[in-house]
């Protein structure tokens, strides 16, 4: 059974967009704790820094998905390999993001003072 171009591009777009969103959440979480004006801006703009991080991640996810939908699909033979690659990238980014956030808050809570 073939995977149509539109189906392929939807999966690829959401997978890469999710990887961007996860990387963004990791980056903004650590940066906002180290650079308080960013945390204050998130609070001021979104009522709560955590709400801001979530809202911006959604905007990024939708925006990047929409942009990536415009990229053409490859030949049928390599479609599922391309999807496996994008899924592995998401897996690796998620693992690195989780480890980074946990390590950062271990440092903040137990080692900083």
């Amino acid at each position: 059974m073939e995977l149509s171009n539109i189906r392929f591009t939807i999966i690829r777009a959401t997978t890469y967009a999710a990887a961007f969103a996860v990387a963004f959440i990791t980056g903004i979480t650590i940066t906002a704790d180290l650079y308080l004006p960013l945390k204050d801006w998130l609070k001021l703009t979104f009522s709560h820094h955590w709400v801001g991080k979530g809202m911006l991640a959604i905007v990024l996810f939708v925006g990047i998905s929409a942009i990536l939908l415009l990229f053409p699909a490859p030949k049928d033979e390599v479609k599922t390999k391309a999807l496996a690659r994008s899924t592995w990238i998401l897996v690796i980014v998620s693992l690195m993001g989780t480890i980074s956030i946990i390590a950062f808050f271990i440092y903040e809570a137990f080692l900083k003072h």
């Binding site: 189906r7 999966i11 979530g54 999807l83 592995w88 993001g97 809570a109 137990f110």
Partner: protein
Amino acid sequence: MSTLLKTFLAFHVILGVAGAIAYAGVWMNLLKQKLPVRFLQWASAIGFFSFLISWVIGGYYYAIYYGKAVKPIIIKGQYPWGHSFFMEAKEHVFLFLPFLAAVMFVTLLIAGNRIETEAPLKRALIWLAGIIVVLGIIMALSGVIISGAVR
């Protein structure tokens, strides 16, 4: 705490655990040689929407009530790391889950019939499902520790 917030907190926990259980079902069934595609699609849909609703109602409780009423008690109590480590890590790592679940849901919905015969994609999805389940369990256990730190 108002009845609405108590209800939201209870459903945040119930739906979070339900999402993790649904993805545990996805994980275990992805390991099979013959994939039950309809089950995988339904389980990932249930898991995705559970995480999504859990995010919204848990977020409402967190933004409206936790910071003002619960966090100060934990910080001044015997276990301040209940907030400074467990809650801080939980609230941010939790944000990954709806995006990871969305990818799994979309992939199974759109390409569910292709996965069985495509070993590299199947292997990557098994890892993705495993991460979702492990993160879900970490979220639930962190919630238990945070609740314990209030007392």
